[in-house]
Symmetry: C2
Subunit: 247 residues, 2 copies
Amino acid sequence: MNETDHRPDLADLVHDGARQYLRHLSVDSVIFSFHEDKLKVLLLRMKDLPLYALPGGYVHKEESLEDAAHRILAERTGLGEVFLEQCGAFGDRDRTGNDRAEGLYSALGEDLPPGNWLRERFVSIAYYALVNFNLARPQPGFFDTECVWCPIGELPDLVFDHREIVRKARETLRMHLDHKLVGSNLLPETFTMNELQRLYEAILGRPLLRANFQRKMLGLEILDRLDKKFGGGAHKAPYLYKFKPTA
Amino acid sequence: MNETDHRPDLADLVHDGARQYLRHLSVDSVIFSFHEDKLKVLLLRMKDLPLYALPGGYVHKEESLEDAAHRILAERTGLGEVFLEQCGAFGDRDRTGNDRAEGLYSALGEDLPPGNWLRERFVSIAYYALVNFNLARPQPGFFDTECVWCPIGELPDLVFDHREIVRKARETLRMHLDHKLVGSNLLPETFTMNELQRLYEAILGRPLLRANFQRKMLGLEILDRLDKKFGGGAHKAPYLYKFKPTA
């Protein structure tokens, strides 16, 4: 079966999109992973351009917002079942200016006719997702030459207001740290207290006191302690933990 | 000057709205106040119907989402400068069914022609706001017969998915309790620790331990302690507090 069967091509999107999709509405996602002690974001390099974008797309007329977000993520990145949650709607008047959209599609090899729906104003519903770096196998979509995991402190040029969307997604992630089992999506199945602390530090962007952090995490009663990690003298090996199964 | 000068009338909205507004997009707001120890939500009674709605409206083609939310709130409720923040985008396929929209507009005295833009699917961007009950002077808009402050535990029948929007707004408010000075919008300028605790209990929907609550609030260092409240013996009068000015 042809893998691209269900992917519209660019000309189809330009010329027939207004019939298939809700006008004025797009969906963009900020996909986080944790790797080598860094919080990273998945970006797509726009074909042949020195410009990156969040994985995004449009909403079919017969599709819910949530379904669109999951479909787009799968189409554009090869990522299947992931934790996805809204982090905001972006609706400034000129967030996708005519000129930038026109230049972008022109560089992608497709002229936008006057009055084309893609020249109109778009409001974007943004989602954030947490994925396990080692399990993710992102693949570029038909718009893109490559997927890259970019450390959140080293973002390249991003289209439109995508940098602001990343900022808002990180703020939402921080706010949710104490309410959701954020770590369970970003860490391997078992981990040390030290690894958990480094994840929290990467998300919060500041160092934490070791003793306070350990007391707080154990106080939440969300962790099961396992055997000691193998290696070195047993008295020096750190304990391994895993998240308790959710009821 | 005629107060309704800038308010479109219903026929204008039905027949000319598609030219003025972004299609498929609406804005709805959940306005919270705190009164008589209850968290209340502002609802609009739909003209002559036993049905209530959140204050809402549409986004002008030349207007940002935020500006639209503030304008709609002012037009529909008479409330001016208030704290408004997004709490979600609601985009289920059938959240505003044809039949319900048609019945609604028909009851409001306006038939929706086939293919009319108001029959189409709408995604709603929801905001929540915090207002001081004693300062708010809500006034109904042209759609509505009255504004009512309804305790959050006693909601009447609401149109579309507005009950779900209220639920999400309250969840967002709870999540923001520890991050934002939520109280400063909902309480009078000075208040007792007991009044502050009752506000938190109304938002959280559960009782809190008095000693723990007081220790936590004082630990946040966001309160200034004032003179004792007048009344009774001085040893029994509670202290008054106010929020520190934000830097």
